[in-house]
């Protein structure tokens, strides 16, 4: 692949198109698998029957239409949101191993969502999707606020990540505490959610997350020009006419909305936020935001579809938490990135 990077604009363009098509095909393929594979195996012909509304068994129809479709769609949308959020944070902190999970933002969101859920399960019963997102957003902003405060004091980026992990641990500890003492029948669900999982997502959830995530992603895409300028550093970006204050606020807000949305529906999902943008950057061999924003979204979707598929089929009927699987894929990528960074610094 190396030689491809040193050639003309035309070849570059072909390469980008090829990679986008590749990601899309991969996503469709995995989506198909996610619909067909599971505790009940459904052949593709049967799925087609369900989709076209022909006569099928009621249980099969329910499994396909009420469980697997929303779940697979959620994996794509939330995976994309997660990768995009990671890409923004990496840009914001000029740090290749930044992501919503390591910086404690997911855990902050998790904490507030858990508090709200426990409170509502005790009192009112049901919690609306929007309220969950709002709670997650509040938690994400809280954690982000802490991270920003620390980042002002600490110039060293590795220390920033360490402090993010610490914030994450504190939030997780309090969440566990809350979950443990909230005795209720629904606690099993809460527990599953707090470990991270795409299970139990309804069509209504999918509708809400589609609106939130796609709107945010669109706004981010519109920001791709200043993001590109910001990659040269704040000083140059400012000289190029970027309103740095506004830009930074937008970046923080949009990335927090995305990771909050993920946490609200699927709980904390580790490593996708760091690993996917890194993989995509190296695959495309560029960090240009105008390409990275859609590509990270697709990549995140592909990654989460695959990981969710593994999580629910590997030891079926027992389901693994999604973070267990993403960590196995993601952590080595992070280690690889750190080693490569070190090398570059020495050179």
């Amino acid at each position: 692949m190396r030689h491809l990077t040193i050639c003309s604009g035309w070849n570059k363009k072909m390469r980008y198109i090829f990679l986008f098509v590749f990601l899309l095909v991969l996503m469709l393929l995995l989506f198909g698998l996610a619909i067909c594979i599971g505790s009940v195996r459904v052949p593709p012909a049967e799925v087609l029957k369900v989709l076209t509304g022909k006569e099928t068994e009621e249980t099969v129809k329910n499994i396909i239409w009420q469980i697997r479709f929303p779940r697979a769609l959620a994996a794509i949308i939330l995976g994309g949101a997660l990768a995009l959020s990671g890409y923004l944070l990496q840009t914001f902190f000029h740090n290749p191993i930044a992501g919503p999970f390591v910086l404690g933002i997911s855990s902050g969101a998790k904490l507030v969502v858990a508090l709200v859920m426990v409170f509502f399960i005790g009192n009112a019963g049901k919690v609306s999707s929007f309220l969950l997102i709002l709670a997650a957003f509040a938690g994400a902003m809280l954690a982000m606020g802490f991270v920003l405060l620390i980042s002002k004091k600490l110039r060293q980026m590795s220390m920033l990540v360490v402090s993010g992990v610490m914030i994450g641990y504190i939030c997780s500890a309090i969440t566990d505490f809350v979950v443990t003492f909230a005795e209720d029948a629904d606690i099993v669900n809460l527990h599953n959610w707090s470990m991270g999982s795409f299970s139990g997502i309804s069509w209504a959830n999918v509708a809400v997350m589609t609106v939130v995530v796609f709107l945010t992603a669109f706004l981010i895409f519109l920001l791709s020009k200043p993001i590109g300028a910001y990659q040269l550093g704040e000083a140059y970006a400012k000289n190029m006419g970027v309103n740095i204050r506004l830009f930074r606020i937008l970046l923080v807000l949009l990335s927090s909305i995305l990771s909050a949305c993920v946490t609200a529906f699927a709980g904390p999902v580790s490593f996708v936020g760091i690993a996917v943008p890194q993989l995509i950057k190296n695959l495309f061999h560029t960090a240009k935001p105008i390409l990275m924003i859609p590509a990270c979204f697709l990549g995140g979707g592909v990654c989460c579809l695959l990981c969710d598929l593994i999580a629910r089929t590997l030891f079926a009927p027992t389901e693994l938490s999604i973070s267990t699987v993403t960590a196995i894929f993601g952590a080595p990528v992070v280690i690889y990135v750190m080693i490569r960074q070190k090398k570059e610094n020495i050179e």
């Binding site: 020009k225 190029m240 006419g241 560029t286």
Partner: protein
């Protein structure tokens, strides 16, 4: 008001509300080059950062064509002013072309896509600075000097009217230093580009600048055309030079002279002694020299390095008492060396000094004997 293109009035700069330098003022016309000189940490970068709006002014105004720069629309300002800053930028998977292309930012549309016109301008800028062959290389893999030239190409691609550069030549070798400054000079004179920069190379600053601003301490020092700034002794006081010396006329720096009673007397002139003076300095041998005219090529170096210089006023014959002084100096020294290969009508006395040394048994024949 006035026909100055860029004006700074009563500017006070500093960090976090703490004033570092007060009452800075200068005015430059379109197409002029202003250079900031001064010791490390004197505040050159602080002044430049304040001018370009990275730092808030603590007092005073900066105006571009009589318009206050802090009130200008950011996008408009970006079309007029480009910068090259110190400190390396950390890019990620960006090629050199990508970096230069960011200069087109103020001119591209909502999504920042480059038009054919933009691409042509980027290419031209890279050709001008001779970095075109680096085009598709990853920015991180090129040398520091190449990076500096790429950042200049980037600034040129921004098509500014005024260019602000902070120590832009620090990583360049002498060839590229000269090339870099001649590009700036060409653009200043032909395209009326105004340049404000800081330089550590005083010799080059003296040659390229229309105006020089000296920065040191609470207030700025001298400001004006280089011939008014670089007067003998000023640089030494500006930089507080204690070890060694700087010659303002030639822009030449010399290491400190070797102190002590001179062991060797060097007869030189017309540039024949300079290399020997420096060798003696390296070998830490104190020496005296003469007879030199004050306009001799060897004279400034001799003044910087010799313990005593027996000198004669320019355009005069060597007078009797000067000759006697030289003889006395030879008496005090252990050995005498002559760098002159031949003598002319005017320096007969130096030839006589040689004979005198021979008669005293102090004259050393051949090269490198003095090294003992």
């Amino acid at each position: 008001m006035d026909d100055y293109y860029f004006s700074v009035k009563q500017m006070t700069v500093g960090y976090d509300g703490k004033a570092l330098i007060r009452d800075i003022a200068f005015h430059i016309k379109k197409g002029e080059i202003l250079t900031l000189i001064g010791p490390n940490g004197a505040g050159k970068s602080t002044i430049l950062k304040s001018i370009i709006g990275q730092l808030k002014l603590l007092a005073g105004t900066v105006t571009l064509e009589n318009e206050r720069i802090d009130r200008m629309e950011a996008a408009e300002r970006a079309k007029k002013m480009a910068v090259v800053l110190t400190g390396q930028i950390r890019t990620e998977l960006m090629t050199c072309v990508d970096v230069v292309a960011t200069g087109r930012y103020p001119y591209t549309g909502r999504l920042g896509l480059l038009s054919e016109e933009d691409k042509r301008i980027v290419e031209e800028a890279m050709e001008l600075v001779h970095v075109k062959e680096l085009g598709e290389r990853d920015f991180l893999t090129v040398s520091d000097g190449q990076k500096q030239r790429i950042m200049l190409a980037r600034a040129i691609a921004q098509q500014p009217e005024i260019l602000v550069l902070d120590e832009p030549t620090s990583y360049l070798d002498i060839k590229y230093k000269l090339e870099f400054l001649s590009i700036l000079q060409d653009m200043a004179k032909k395209k009326k580009l105004t340049v404000i920069m800081s330089l550590h190379e005083l010799d080059l600053a003296e040659r390229v600048s229309d105006k020089v601003l000296c920065v040191k301490g609470e207030n700025v020092g001298r400001y004006g055309p280089p011939e008014d700034v670089f007067t003998p002794g000023y640089v030494s006081s500006l930089y507080d030079i204690k070890e060694g010396s700087f010659d303002e006329i030639s822009g030449r720096a010399e290491l400190p002279r070797v102190q002590g009673e001179p062991k060797l007397f060097v007869i030189a002139g017309g540039g024949s002694g300079t290399h020997l003076y420096r060798s003696l300095q390296r070998e830490k041998i104190p020496f005296s020299t003469g007879v030199l005219w004050e306009n001799d090529l060897d004279y400034p170096v001799a003044e910087a390095l010799a313990v005593r210089v027996i000198k004669e006023k320019a355009f005069l014959r060597i007078r009797e008492d000067t000759f006697e002084k030289a003889k006395k100096e030879i008496d005090r020294c252990e050995k005498v060396v002559c760098c002159l290969k031949s003598f002319g009508e005017l320096n007969r006395e130096n030839e006589e000094l040689c004979s005198y040394a021979k008669s005293q048994g102090k004259f050393m024949e051949g090269d490198a004997l003095w090294q003992k």
